[in-house]
Amino acid sequence: MPRIVRDADVSWEGNLARGEGAITAASSGAFTALPYSLPTRIAAPEGKTSPEELLAAAHGGCFTMSLAGELTGAGTPPGRLDVHCRITMDEVEGQGHLIVHSALDVRARVDGLEPDAFAQAVDAAHKGCSFSSLLRAAGVGIDIETTLEGGD
């Protein structure tokens, strides 16, 4: 399979405290010039995205596809997966600000799936998700809560 390349563009004007930037999904054009700033990154978002929120969307998206792939491969494709991802950034003594945690809350509706098989698929999805792997390699904690709903 060929390599996949994706680009994003950001412009920033001014210093950190009072400056402002704009974030564009350059490959797809799916979003354009989303504003962001320091105050809205670390305090109330006031409608503005941030690097951590984009990471939450990326990790949620990557894990969800990975789980859909595992369930499909096991012969039990999902009816529906609902995944919530929460990324936490914190100040760590001596290291400055770090991404410290990602929490995934997974609700799945899958016909004919037993709880054990679901747990195996979640485990395989976590191992196979490329973004989960990177976060683990960097020492970022990852918690996964799962709920299997009866599919009917």
């Binding site: 996949i4 563009d9 001014g14 797809s28 305090a43 951590e52 990471l55 969307a57 990177l134």
Partner: protein, 145 residues
Amino acid sequence: MATDRNAKVTWTGSLMEGSGRIEGVGSGAFGPLDVTCASRAEEPAGRTSPEELIAAAWASCFSMALSHALAGAGTPPERLETSVTVTFQPGEGILKGAIEVVGTVPGVDRETFVEQAEAARTNCPVSMALTGVPEVTVAATLATA
């Protein structure tokens, strides 16, 4: 103080025939955005992907870190234009991040700007979360007046 940011994603159907949606994010800044296996692995066709979102997170975090370092040295930037390219190989993972930044920074010489960009590449929180990416490059140039 810890900062939490969140996103909600749904998926319906099998991996190849099904489709996903980034329903929304805590700030409300974007969404819903559709994602599919084909638009992740082939042409984007207007759809974002985890790799594009990582590129966006990285470019935005790097830009803030560089702005902070330049201001701390007494030379805040007028403008930074940053592009990040993330390269993903199915089956292997994310192989490369390429950061390109063009700065308009009064009072800074090229060498200092390159040093500051290298430091931001190493130290920004998103870079610190992506230390497992095998190859990360940064190309920093000053805009010509």
